[in-house]
Symmetry: C2
């Protein structure tokens, strides 16, 4: 308690044991995201899976193998349908989920108001409209870095689980 | 669908009918936040309430009077106890809540790991450790602006409710 704001210490703590899980079924998009991550967030180990089942298996394996849970999850909504993305989101955010506290950012080309509102309703932390080129991706990842790693305080599973 | 990334159009849409609800029981903190908001987010109308009951009454009155729901909620965790903050957070994020889709950012001086993890678990979108002076507050509000208003796509209640 009463440890005052110090962005350097917040940042240092967030980067400790930091991994990022990306659930993306499109290989071309993953190439763009991977390149942008290597430029704008090189300190964070990124793991990519392509399906909801692989995502759940990966998260379960973190517990079984003692690997750190991701600090943040980026979830493509259309996997390949939005119902697939929402089902996974609801599974992650279910009250009995061991991953409920991990923030999930939805990524999608869609700017359909139902997609946006329902993603927030089902528990996504925010909704980001996918850019189409690597420079815009780099700018997005830079903004994710500034907000999630350098401003916000992320949970530290090494201390709470 | 398939409307590509254009940060200017995202920003323009997020700023439309944009209000921000701040639930803060400490008058000194509210003064700092208010000053920082006037400098870094002057386009967004900020409403401050001091108690959980006032917050629920305000949100209900939005529906009754046809006022736009806030695009984002900033919630002081200790109101005055953390149990008060969590109870309100769970009420806002309950499956039957009409405000469930509105992102809630927790503000607190505490960097207690239980406070942080439980805030995420109960559905806060992120957790921010309160700064102590107006310049740091201004920098924080600037980062909230860049992330929530200029990067993320926020729900537009005028179209979905």
């Amino acid at each position: 308690m009463n440890v005052y704001y110090d962005s350097q210490s917040i940042s240092k703590e967030n980067f400790k044991y930091a991994t990022l899980l990306i659930i993306e079924d499109n290989n071309d998009h993953w190439q763009l995201i991977q390149l942008a991550l290597s430029r704008s967030l090189p300190e964070v180990k990124a793991t990519r899976v392509a399906t909801p089942n692989q995502a759940i298996e990966y998260l379960k394996s973190c517990f079984l193998q003692g690997i750190d849970l991701p600090k943040l999850i980026l979830l493509d909504l259309y996997l390949p349908t939005r119902e697939d993305g929402w089902e996974l989101l609801q599974q992650l955010k279910h009250s009995t989920s061991s991953y409920k506290h991990v923030p999930v950012v939805i990524l999608s080309y869609s700017n359909d108001q139902e997609d946006i509102a329902d993603s927030y309703f089902y528990g996504s932390t925010s909704y980001i409209t996918k850019p189409t080129n690597v420079n815009d991706w780099e700018s997005y990842i830079q903004k994710l870095r500034i907000y999630w790693w350098e401003t916000v305080t992320l949970p530290n599973d090494r201390l709470v689980i």
